[in-house]
């Protein structure tokens, strides 16, 4: 049954476009992707073999490790805050109270509609000048990082959560209410757990972007990873050694995060194929 269908569709394709049949397309895909991977792999090997100064690594490793720790701290704080705030933004977006949903929409428009770099500048340069007298915070860079990343990513998480809530069938709320649950209780027990599963992939994607967004903090001299690249590069004129360290540092955060999202998705599988 399934085979005959596949054959029929393959024949149909061959006849219909007369250009690629399914088999040719498959070989073309394998060929092109292998070729690409081979090219990139060779280039990488060449760089690692001839361009990286392994003797330099012990000297610059301590400053990279400090930067790595700082980035991790900013990421963990920013993630917790932006996801928590984002859930509230998403809930506000679906509120039946016009004022609440309207204000949430404006919030999202602003923080999604202006560059993160601009928002960092607003917080870093703008806020201290508004202070009557001397701004009390000495080291404003890291607080700026956390504030700007949280405000920016709460907007994206909020949109993901809004979409997740929208994808929950109306009947779920009705069923919960018909059992005597209040609106808040029904949201908490029934709608939000399902909305969260729906939103998980989009939220995970956004949080991985948050990790990479810490690189922008180099412009306000937060000693993060790109800042270390710049300091090593300007001292040694060696681009590849610090670049490789930067790549390893980011990937060692973002790849496990991707895995964590997959794990969370699998864990809320609820007994099989999605409804």
């Amino acid at each position: 049954m399934a085979d005959s269908y596949a054959d029929a569709s393959a024949d149909a394709n061959a006849v219909a476009d007369g250009f690629f049949d399914d088999q040719t397309l498959k070989y073309l895909g394998v060929g092109l992707s292998s070729l690409f991977a081979l090219g990139v792999g060779l280039l990488l090997l060449y760089i690692l073999a001839t361009q990286v100064d392994y003797g330099l690594i012990p000297t610059i490793l301590p400053q990279f490790l400090r930067a790595y720790g700082l980035v991790l701290g900013i990421v963990v704080t920013g993630s917790v805050l932006s996801v928590s705030a984002g859930i509230f933004v998403g809930l506000a977006r679906v509120s039946k109270t016009r004022i609440t949903s309207g204000l949430a929409a404006i919030y999202v428009q602003f923080f999604r509609g202006t560059p993160l770099l601009f928002q960092i500048f607003v917080v870093y340069f703008g806020i201290p000048t508004l202070w009557p007298g001397t701004f009390p915070v000495q080291d404003w860079g890291i607080p700026t990082a956390i504030i700007a990343l949280t405000l920016n990513h709460a907007a994206y998480v909020g949109e993901a959560v809004r979409g997740g809530i929208g994808a929950v069938h109306d009947g779920q709320m009705e069923a919960a209410r018909s059992l005597g649950m209040g609106y808040v209780q029904a949201m908490r027990e029934v709608v939000i757990p399902q909305a969260w599963r729906n939103a998980l992939a989009a939220v995970g994607n956004d949080q991985i972007i948050l990790v990479k967004d810490t690189s922008l903090l180099t412009v306000i001299a937060v000693p993060e990873l790109i800042q270390q690249f710049r300091s090593v590069n300007s001292a040694t004129f060696d681009p590849w050694t610090p670049l490789v360290l930067v790549a390893i540092a980011y990937l060692s955060i973002t790849i496990p995060m991707g895995r964590l999202v997959e794990y969370l998705e699998e864990r809320s599988d609820w007994g099989g194929e999605s409804q």
Binding site: E174, M181, G182, Q185, E189, W270, G271, Q275
Partner: protein, 256 residues
Amino acid sequence: MSDSDRDSAGGPGDHALLEFEHVDKYFGDTHVLKDISLDVEDGEVCVVIGPSGSGKSTLLRCANRLEEIQNGEIRLDGRSISDPDADINRLRQRIGMVFQSFNLFPHKTAIENLTLAPRKVRGTGEAAARQRAEELLAEVGLSDQADSYPNQLSGGQQQRVAIARALAMDPRVMLFDEVTSALDPELVGEVLEVMRGLADEGMTMMVVTHEMGFAREVADRVVLMDEGRIVETGAPESFFENPETERGEQFLSKLL
């Protein structure tokens, strides 16, 4: 039912268990329920039939205020459901509702679907809620599926869990909104059988359905709706054999 039956039904005063009194309902400009008055007595199985778009599902949904009405009043055991100040969460605990699309909670197992509302709404302890849920699952023949997720159950099994979920709140009346319409034909029987069992136990039921066999066999009273009005009510034998109105005759002739 005669008036003397109604008086002997007990409860405070001489009212029916579920009363619709001159109910009007509009969707925008569309007048979907027109001056509906209907009493469902304690222990009665009231089956509402009629062509699609006749307002029968809307009437049922008004009975636990999933839809608001614009005129008239709906009362459960003498207490207004339609009053804006009514404690609707409290009243809904006494009104079980079963939906065409089951609406089980997909992130909860069958037994968790049953225990959620008793625990969270009524504050029943975990152990007591589980015990009651196990009894109810046994009653609908699904003891072996307690730990299955809705996704792992057939449509008929899901609908039986949904009935048990509504029963877990010990409702005074059960509302069934075309509960077999989304099922494969071979799964309809098992759901109707559960409903028949409930009727036999004396549960007060208001059933919107297209299953005329069920209406004929289980109903104490059949209500025919058309274009937002109640056209005819009567005992199933007399209604199906000998409808009083022309509209009733027409409706039945289309079925046969």
